[in-house]
């Protein structure tokens, strides 16, 4: 998996026999036990582990829900109500799954913004970053289709509005939409295929996660200084240090998760989704789940159907292009005084877009959404390329160790040459 020479030595006869046939234990050892971790990582680096936990949690609760759920438009709503009222602990499974999706997105947004702040997308981590963007896209598709399954009013109209986005595509748009629907409007065939895909996509996510971690273990982790590991003294072994820290952070996150599930399980949902789907009436305010709101605000900010769809897709394309849009050779915003300010402005714009996405599209809200949308793209297309040319970064520390201890020395661990393949930055 990684290029680190494994230090694993099988002890028992069975372990030797097995290792010479399939070196699985050696792989796990080099990736999760001996793997060199920068010694200055903060809790922002625990969200990867939290995300893996959340994916597993969604799969487990989802499979259990699927044992009771019926993907048929006349029965779906009833079956979800039956899960809530009749199935033993069904309410718990459903609240875990529904709130779990939100927790998954909270974690992924922290994870992405961590990367944007510390320049984790820069060489040699471009492929790692792109795999992350693919995971994000798959997550959005999965969550969207999951939200359709309870077949309430928001499910139905959310599905209608989002699938209709494709009708903006010139020439083939209407054909694509009818292939998505399997009919002339959102209906039973749509629900059926969405369930099949909602079951499938999380496993595809799991596959891409394996590639993501593989890429990570080839190039090594970034860290708050952005300076690569230069000697063994900059690193500590994954186990026990990262293992225990990741576990601790995950448990704290689970407590946060549990607070939503047990105290405000419907806060992040919409009351309208407890009304069965009615194709003759659209709810007065249709808004997507909170994690889609910034993109929804961008869609509505453009007063043209195709233009709105292009802007919304473009907002995600920006993320994929960021490794090449950012021209600065310094990774971490800690050493980039200007970028640091623009970064926080960008965060504020994203949060503001999210808030605007939940408001009706009228008057001042529309103007504000347009200004924020413009800033979103200016940040990526103008500020990132230009800053790298005009900004004077602060001097970088000589090594990770220096920033941690303020001196040279300390216990060393062996690191493979591959942990620091980059000389850039």
């Amino acid at each position: 998996m990684s290029q680190h020479a494994t230090t694993y030595v099988p002890k028992s006869r069975f372990a030797k026999w097995f290792e010479s046939r399939l070196p699985l234990a050696g792989l796990v050892h080099s990736s999760f036990i001996a793997f060199p971790v920068p010694r200055n990582l903060t809790y922002f680096w625990t969200f990867g582990a939290i995300l893996i936990f959340m994916l597993a949690a969604q799969i487990v609760t989802g499979v259990w829900l699927a044992m009771h759920y019926v993907p048929q438009s006349n029965l779906a709503f009833e079956s979800v109500e039956a899960i809530m009222r009749e199935v033993n602990y069904g309410w718990l499974l459903r609240y875990l799954h529904a709130n779990g999706a939100s927790m998954f997105f909270i974690a992924v947004y922290i994870h992405i913004f961590r990367g944007l702040y510390y320049g984790s997308y820069k060489a040699p981590r471009e492929i790692l970053w792109l795999l992350g963007v693919i995971i994000f896209l798959l997550m959005m598709a999965t969550a969207f289709m999951g939200y359709v399954l309870p077949w309430g009013q928001m499910s139905f109209w959310g599905a209608t509005v989002i699938t209709n986005l494709f009708s903006a595509i010139p020439l083939v748009g209407d054909t694509i939409v009818s292939l998505l629907w399997g009919g002339y409007s959102v209906g039973n065939p749509t629900l059926n295929r969405f369930f099949a895909l909602h079951y499938l996509l999380p496993f595809m996510i799991a596959g891409v996660v394996v590639l993501h971690i593989w890429a990570l273990h080839v190039v090594g982790q970034n860290n708050p200084t952005g300076v690569p590991i230069k000697s063994g003294k900059d690193a500590i072994p994954f186990t026990p240090y990262a293992t225990i820290k990741d576990m601790f952070a995950t448990i704290v996150f689970v407590m946060f998760f549990a607070w939503w599930v047990f105290f405000v399980p419907n806060y992040l949902g919409h009351a309208d989704n407890y009304v069965p789907a009615n194709p003759a009436v659209t709810p007065a305010h249709i808004v997507p789940e909170w994690y889609f709101l910034p993109f929804y605000a961008i869609l509505r900010a453009i007063p043209d159907k195709l233009g709105g769809v292009i802007a919304m897709v473009g907002a995600i394309v920006m993320l994929a292009l960021v490794p090449w849009l950012d021209t600065s050779r310094v990774r971490s915003a800690n050493y980039r005084p200007l970028y640091r300010q623009f970064f926080w402005a960008f965060c504020a714009v994203c949060v503001l877009l999210g808030w605007l996405g939940s408001k009706p599209p009228e008057g001042g809200y529309v103007i504000a959404a347009r200004v924020c949308t413009a800033w979103y793209f200016i940040h990526f297309l103008l500020i990132l390329p230009l800053l790298g040319l005009f900004e004077t970064p602060k001097p970088l520390p000589a090594s990770i160790l220096e920033t941690v201890t303020g001196r040279r020395g300390g216990s060393a661990m062996p690191v493979g040459a591959a942990a620091a393949p980059s000389t850039k930055g």
Partner: protein
């Protein structure tokens, strides 16, 4: 993969033939098997059969009333327009419309009272609210598209007028949606 002979010239071998033949068969086979997978996602025979024409009795529809019916799973508005609504729909300056169409092209000849249109906003498919918005035609609550009493878009992000389903008058008080009338609407020919 052509073998290089002693003289340095390339010569097609039997392996080259195998490569091209296998590759061609594989490509044709792959294309042929993709088609059924894509086609299976299209509306199936049941869904199409459910598109049989539906009859709507107009007698109980009061002046100014809009009724909602379904054809092929799609919502259809049948609107009994008042003389004032008809007049407003007819006296519009066509050049000012995003999707210019005279009112006469949107109703059957001699039946200007009855407007029959699909009931999903041409923006992203929400159901617009009747008798609302600037022109008191329809107003879409989702992203603010405005339609007039002819179902034509007059503002907002919707690009097109509410489309007209195929329908015909089987009697003075009954229409059949899903079957086109033999006589084309007057102005459509113009």
């Amino acid at each position: 993969m052509a073998a290089i002979t002693a003289t340095g010239q390339t010569k097609a071998t039997r392996r080259d033939f195998m490569l091209i033949a296998t590759g061609a068969a594989g490509a044709v086979g792959a294309a042929a098997i993709v088609w059924p997978f894509v086609a299976s996602m299209a509306p199936d025979a049941f869904v199409i059969a459910a598109g049989a024409p539906v009859d709507v009795d107009l007698a109980p529809v009061a002046d100014g009333q809009i009724v909602k019916v379904f054809w092929r799973g799609k919502l259809v508005f049948v609107r009994n327009r008042t003389p004032k609504e008809i007049e407003e729909a007819e006296k519009v300056n066509l050049a000012s419309l995003p999707d210019p169409q005279p009112d006469s092209a949107r109703v059957k000849e001699g039946k200007a009272k009855w407007l029959v249109v699909f009931g999903n906003c041409t923006h992203l498919g929400c159901v617009p609210l009747g008798h609302e918005g600037t022109y008191e035609g329809w107003f879409c609550p989702c992203h603010g598209s405005v339609y007039d009493t002819s179902g034509r878009v007059r503002g907002g992000p919707a690009p097109l007028n509410l489309p007209i389903p195929p329908y015909t008058f089987v009697s003075d008080t009954k229409i059949r949606i899903g079957e086109e009338s033999k006589v084309p609407p007057k102005a459509a020919a113009a």
